[in-house]
């Protein structure tokens, strides 16, 4: 099984022991606040589907291409999140781009080259690519 690499992590909070519902709720709020802050700073959230269906058709390479493209363009603030399969196995590899105050956009059947274009067109130039 291919190793799923983490590219970056925004959440720096340490896991801690939870002894009551109250502590769980407080911790939840802490994480939320921290994430809202991170999100605001970056303005963009990129999520790659990393289920076995995605990984089998190259999600790992997509992840690396996006990460590389972000680094090359100096967009270090933007983090890439992993998630599992969303059920659209036929469309893998799949990436979701969510820019603040805009609807989320899914890009399916990606190749590393297309993924780089998505970064350039959608994230840098704010132009949604209609079909790829």
């Amino acid at each position: 099984m291919a190793e799923v690499k983490r590219v970056k992590r925004t959440c720096e909070l340490e896991n801690k022991r939870i002894n009551s519902l109250r502590e769980l709720n407080d911790f939840k709020e802490e994480i939320r606040e921290e994430r809202v802050g991170n999100q605001k700073r970056a303005g963009v959230r990129i999520t790659t589907a990393m289920g076995s269906c995605g990984i089998a058709v190259g999600a790992q390479e997509i992840l690396e291409a996006i990460s590389d493209e972000l680094t090359t363009r100096g967009l270090e603030d933007i983090s890439i999140h992993n998630t599992g399969c969303i059920g659209l196995c036929e469309q893998e590899p799949l990436v979701k781009i969510k820019i603040e105050d805009q609807p989320a956009v899914f890009y399916g059947n990606l190749t590393p080259e297309l993924a780089r274009e998505v970064v350039k067109n959608h994230i840098v130039d704010n132009q949604i690519i209609a079909s790829c």
């Binding site: 022991r17 939870i18 769980l24 939840k28 289920g51 992993n82 998630t83 599992g84 059920g87 036929e90």
Partner: protein, 438 residues
């Protein structure tokens, strides 16, 4: 599947931000075990592993059973061909399974849970292990959860690929380290399961509903789906549809809507011929039944099954006799051989279908197929042998003409049965017909 696609399955914090472990916290600090069971009973949740048995009732039986120790087992074997919903849940939202198992443990009085998972699911296994480690680190699994005095630990056991090991009694034997063969029921696992102790065994999808029912309430759950089958069902759609994949829909969604809506219709606009619902042991649904609501009761009424939610859609190019033969080949191979009706029955069903597919069939064969199917469904030891002939029953009912064409006209209109097709090789390059020349 509410969290799938929204959370990072390898980060417990993502699950917590979506109200993860709230239900467990509430249950162990504020509710009595019997109150938890009542909520599940009122929700009307039915097992998603295939049979649709009321989950609350199963929990109650296990709660009431006396034993030295009790166990919770998650059936993650997912051996049914064409089904991968449990994989999606475990790869995408592993904590929802862990949280539910701990809740179940509290409700029935168990401190240990086992996840019996299909060995091929290496990514799911890896993510479950990460999830268990993170939950332990935070005290959400292990000792004294939420300072309530309740302990719960979860272990993973990998299956080795036998279909029959998804059957609950065979599965338990396999965990015990014995040969994975079904046992005579009763006693049911709720009374005598793992090592003879009361054991609750539920499917992954069933369990994935638990935490959200506790959080949102039984009434909320009741409002989704149909009266007899509340909630949602996760379908694995595959075959000749434009979009294959996995989709969660309210129970009772008509088949047509699933195929045309999510599936995007048939590939290349070919004609729909048949959909097998519920996996290999499921019924074959013809065009006339496209508007059937997909829930346990509506399907059972017409001799079909919802099973695991597998939907294999086939177009006009597939031959019914060939499909039935393929299925019997599967069962012939997967029968564990412990009981005669299944071991011999599947072989005989296969042989007769093979004979028909070669143009050697007689009308009498159809009677024999039905007789044998009756014997198997009445006398086989477990669901494997009892349900194996479902495709025979349903194809004989809805596609009898196609069997007759094979028998009476020695013809397979789709060209799938090789024994009935005259092949002619033509040389396209020179326009010559190889059959006529030297």
């Amino acid at each position: 599947m509410r969290n799938c696609g929204h959370i990072d399955p390898e980060n417990i914090k993502d699950y917590i931000t979506r109200d993860g472990y709230q239900a467990l916290g509430t249950v162990v600090t504020e509710l009595k075990p019997i109150e938890v069971i009542e909520i599940i009973e009122q929700s009307g949740l039915r097992g998603r592993g295939g049979a649709g048995f009321p989950t609350g009732l199963k929990w109650k039986f296990t709660h009431q059973a006396a034993g030295k120790e009790k166990y919770v087992v998650a059936n993650a074997d997912e051996g049914e061909p064409g089904t991968s919903k449990d994989r999606l849940i475990m790869e995408g939202d592993p904590h929802s399974l862990l949280e539910a198992m701990a809740i179940a443990g509290y409700a029935i009085g168990a401190n240990t849970g086992y996840i019996y998972i299909r060995g091929e699911y290496q990514l799911a296994i890896k993510r479950l292990k990460i999830a268990i480690a993170q939950a332990k680190e935070m005290g959400l699994l292990g000792e004294n959860l939420f300072d309530s005095g309740f302990n719960f630990e979860i272990k993973i056991r990998e299956g080795a690929g036998a279909y029959v090991c998804g059957e609950e009694t065979a599965l338990l034997k396999s965990i015990e380290g014995e040969r994975g063969e079904p046992q005579v029921k009763p006693p049911y696992p709720t009374n005598e399961g793992l090592w003879g102790q009361p054991t609750l065994i539920n499917n992954v999808e069933t369990l994935a509903n638990i935490a959200v029912i506790i959080r949102e309430g039984a009434e909320w759950f009741n409002e989704i789906g149909t009266e007899g089958c509340p909630g949602t069902k996760v379908f694995t759609l595959s075959g000749d549809v434009e979009n294959e994949g996995i989709i969660e829909l309210p129970m009772g969604t008509p088949l047509r809507r699933i195929i045309e809506g999510f599936g995007g219709g048939m590939v290349d606009d070919k004609e729909f011929k048949v959909a097998q619902s519920g996996g290999s042991s499921g019924g074959c649904m013809p065009k006339e039944l496209l508007d059937t609501p997909m829930d346990y009761d509506s399907l059972a009424e017409i001799g079909m099954t919802l099973g695991s939610g597998a939907l294999l859609v086939m177009d006009e190019t597939h031959c019914i006799v060939d499909i039935a033969k393929c299925l019997m080949q599967f069962f012939k191979h997967e029968s564990c051989g412990k009981c005669v009706p299944c071991r011999e029955g599947n072989k005989r069903l296969y042989n007769r279908l093979d004979k028909i597919s070669k143009g050697e069939g007689e009308l009498e064969d159809l009677e024999r197929l039905r007789d044998l199917a009756d014997t198997m469904s009445k006398t086989a030891l477990c669901g494997l042998g009892q349900m194996a002939p479902t495709s025979i029953y349903t194809t004989l009912k809805y596609f009898k003409d196609e069997y007759l064409t094979h028998i009476e006209d020695n013809n397979c209109t789709t060209g799938s049965c090789r024994g009935l097709v005259d092949l002619e090789v033509q040389d396209k390059r020179g326009g010559k017909d190889y059959g006529n020349n030297n």
